[in-house]
Amino acid sequence: MNLFISSFKMKKFIKRGIVFLLLTLIVLLSLGISSVLITQQTFNYSICEDKNILIVGNSHTECGINDKVLKRSTNLSKSASSFFLPLYQTKELFK
């Protein structure tokens, strides 16, 4: 074990690896936090009061349902959106 840890090259490898992992973690955390903050400030999830049908989902509902034709609906679908986006959107709307 001593030989393993005292090896200069291994020490350097582990040290640099840890520094890199920490750096990546910091970048990822700051990206995550800033994206949440930007989303909260930029996007307005409020819907006109005369609309009472909410459409969420991926490209199927995005291309398949036209909310300009269905006057009382709002289509927030987005192609390739993950399972969590509609969940998040709905949560934000009902806050």
Partner: protein
Amino acid sequence: MLFNSLEFFLFLPIVFFLYWKYNNIKTQNILILISSYVFYGWWDWRFLFLIFMSTVVDYFVVLSIENNSDSKKRKRILYISVFFNLALLGVFKYFNFFIDSWVDFISVFGYNIENTWSLKIILPVGISFYTFQTMSYSLDVYRRELKTTKDFISFASFVSFFPQLVAGPIERASHLLPQILNKRKFSYIQSVEGLRLILWGLFKKVVIADSLSLLVNPIFDNYLNLNGGVLLLGLIYFSFQIYCDFSGYSDIAIGTAKLFGIELRSNFIFPYFSRDIGEFWRRWHISLSSWFKDYLYIPLGGSKKGKWMSIRNVFIIFIVSGFWHGANLTFIIWGLAHSMLYLILSLKNQNRKVTTLIVSKDSLFPSLKECYQITITFLSVMITWVFFRSDSVTDAFLYLLRMFTDIAFPNVYRSGFIYVILIVLFDWWNRKDERKPLNINSFYFRWTSYVILIILILGHSGQKNEFIYFQF
């Protein structure tokens, strides 16, 4: 265990630290063996016995070959190894294909028999790879090109070495076994290069290949309803999907092996920059092409027994190569198509015309002539991929027919082109050494690229797709 799974990224550091902690060959090889069996058993432990059986049979067969000086006896013993490994492949990979083909063939003559012989078995992952690897050991010892080892643990570690166990590169005993038998030293540079290759391989697999698969699958599933332009896009995307998927796996395998002080052979050297089909086959899946060349093409006489024998051998090698990929007529047609392309060059003695390893070594851009050659080669290879990807030969021909007759500007699925441009640019920039991606001089720029790649990989890692070559 998949390379692009969380389990692997917990498994790898544990094995790495244990490996270098016990810095002696015996313990390291035992650790390689155990970790390789855990790695494989994670998928399905019941198939571990196949690897073990293949290892035991080849170990004892090869010892008997070396102990025998009578050439006839040596040959007979070699057949045991070859037949055993081919029998494994025959039962687990090709049995149902032969039975189904036989039933179909009989039905042509009006005999409709109920197929009750098909086996309900799953194809053991990597069976085509490790059987070929062990066979190369027996063949090398038989040809007296390699000395046998009596160390069973080391031999078993060679057969099951986890970085390349399930999808190659198919290693030669003469290259990998001496590395396993000799003491390894930790090298900082080698390990860093290994990590870079792992990162680069993951980028190719998770970001490029998996994103393109989201476009390729619906295109191939609905090809009858799409215009020719979209079908052309689908084929271009699939060409890059399969390249990034398989070469990404090879990069991760080579990189992982480097972490353990072991060098594996290169499997891909920028095949889409090839200037003719001969060069393409020296750059694509090199470990398999060279296996077939050394153990099939040359023993059959290669190109030295006259024109007709040479043509026959080219056909055999490409058809067998197609059949190796899967028990389906589509793969055989794919092999046949490549043999035709190769024969056009071979008959004019031009299959070894292009031998420079680096394309446009001294200039930033390829010359007009090189651009033309690269484009023609890519288009030829791309058209053959339709047989590789389609479910049946009919589907493949209908796909091509629609692509060439219903010519129109692609109206959907254009977004994938960004991934194609990205990988072409990266590969061109990196073309001088396939084993050293992300080798950027500036420290800050290098680390920034690592972080960007990790973010991209994490951003694209929602779906965990298997590697395409796992099915072979």
